[in-house]
């Protein structure tokens, strides 16, 4: 479990990977891939960097299931927070014209 000693070369390897990814994400920002693709690439690299830090620097790779569950639950609720807020905000333009029950009268008449 957390007793395991992580070798120095693992730390240094992760550090070098994080530096390369920082250089990559900064460099890509100066290349026009289209606004959406640029955003996706930048955030994908950020997620990979965060995973490297969480798994190795924060020793989660070597932690027990309880710790892993807490972390997954934390990010799950963050995803809920953002997803539900966006689901509200981005769909406000979708509201249909509301006619009330009266709109059903011609439909109901058609049945008889």
């Amino acid at each position: 479990m957390s007793e395991q000693v992580v070798p120095v070369k693992t730390y240094v390897g992760v550090f070098v990977a994080l530096l390369l990814l920082t250089g990559l994400t900064t460099g890509v920002a100066f290349i026009d891939l289209g606004s959406e693709l640029n955003t996706i690439v930048a955030l994908t690299i950020a997620v990979i960097k965060a995973l490297l830090v969480i798994l190795f620097f924060m020793h989660v790779k070597y932690s027990g299931g309880l710790t892993k569950m807490v972390i997954v639950a934390g990010f799950f609720f963050l995803a809920l927070l953002i997803a539900f807020t966006l689901a509200d905000e981005l769909t406000r333009g979708w509201s249909p014209q509301v006619h009330g029950w009266g709109a059903l009268i011609p439909v109901v008449h058609g049945w008889f």
Binding site: A73, I82, L86
Partner: protein
């Protein structure tokens, strides 16, 4: 009597409510992660607000993003990642019972954290102030920004609030590291007991992760490739 014998075999930092040191360590790590989850939600609220307003005022946010100093942002990212490495190595130094290495790596972590804050406040924010980019402190909306200009101050409110909140966490971490440095100097940490180092390390790495997301969100995704838009 058998219990007594077991307890005598434990290091002096062992707390009697735990079965053994491993359980004590895991309980500490678990507790720290529960705290960090509340921090994820705390920062999550700000990130959520940023996402909403960016989707509402995308052109303004892109203009604001291009006005940030990407060189400082990238340099500070590298500095913070390096400070995470030295933090992790200070725990490794405790694992192998090397007091001087612990002191050295903790000092380096504080030094790198200090450089980060110094660059941020003394250079970056100062330059922003001179360029009239701080809302409430003589912000000037440039006519070059056109119709999107009216919401550029909104971007800068997010920028200063998010980086300020992050900097506040770093200042708190800096203070905790100062306490740890004294404890390490006094030889408190060894291979059987380094819980304060481990918990502080988790906090420090968490602050690093927040920056890993702030850097692209604030500095990069505004479209650096637009000619004449960079700094």
């Amino acid at each position: 009597m058998a219990d007594m014998a077991v307890h005598h075999a434990q290091p002096k930092e062992f707390q009697h409510q735990f079965e053994d040191m491993e359980q004590q360590r895991d309980a500490g790590t678990f507790g720290m992660w529960v705290f960090l989850v509340t921090e994820i939600m705390f920062f999550g609220g700000v990130f959520g607000a940023y996402i909403i307003y960016r989707s509402l005022y995308l052109p303004s946010f892109e203009i604001g993003s291009r006005l940030l100093k990407v060189n400082f942002g990238a340099t500070n990212t590298v500095i913070l990642i390096a400070s995470s490495l030295t933090m992790a190595l200070s725990i490794y130094a405790a694992h192998i019972n090397r007091k001087n290495l612990q002191v050295m790596f903790l000092s380096l972590t504080m030094l790198l954290g200090g450089i980060f804050l110094f660059l941020k406040f003394a250079f970056e924010w100062t330059a922003d102030y001179r360029e009239h980019l701080i809302p409430g402190f003589g912000f000037i909306v440039s006519p070059e920004w056109g119709a999107a200009g009216s919401h550029v101050p909104m971007f800068f409110c997010f920028y200063f609030f998010m980086t300020g909140l992050h900097a506040l966490h770093m200042i708190i971490g800096f203070g905790i590291l100062a306490v740890l440095l004294v404890m390490a100097w006094r030889g408190r940490f060894h291979s059987d007991y380094y819980a304060p180092l481990e918990s502080t390390g988790l906090y420090w790495h968490f602050v690093d992760i927040v920056w890993i997301f702030l850097f692209p969100l604030l500095y990069l995704i505004g479209g650096r490739y637009v000619i004449g838009g960079g700094h």
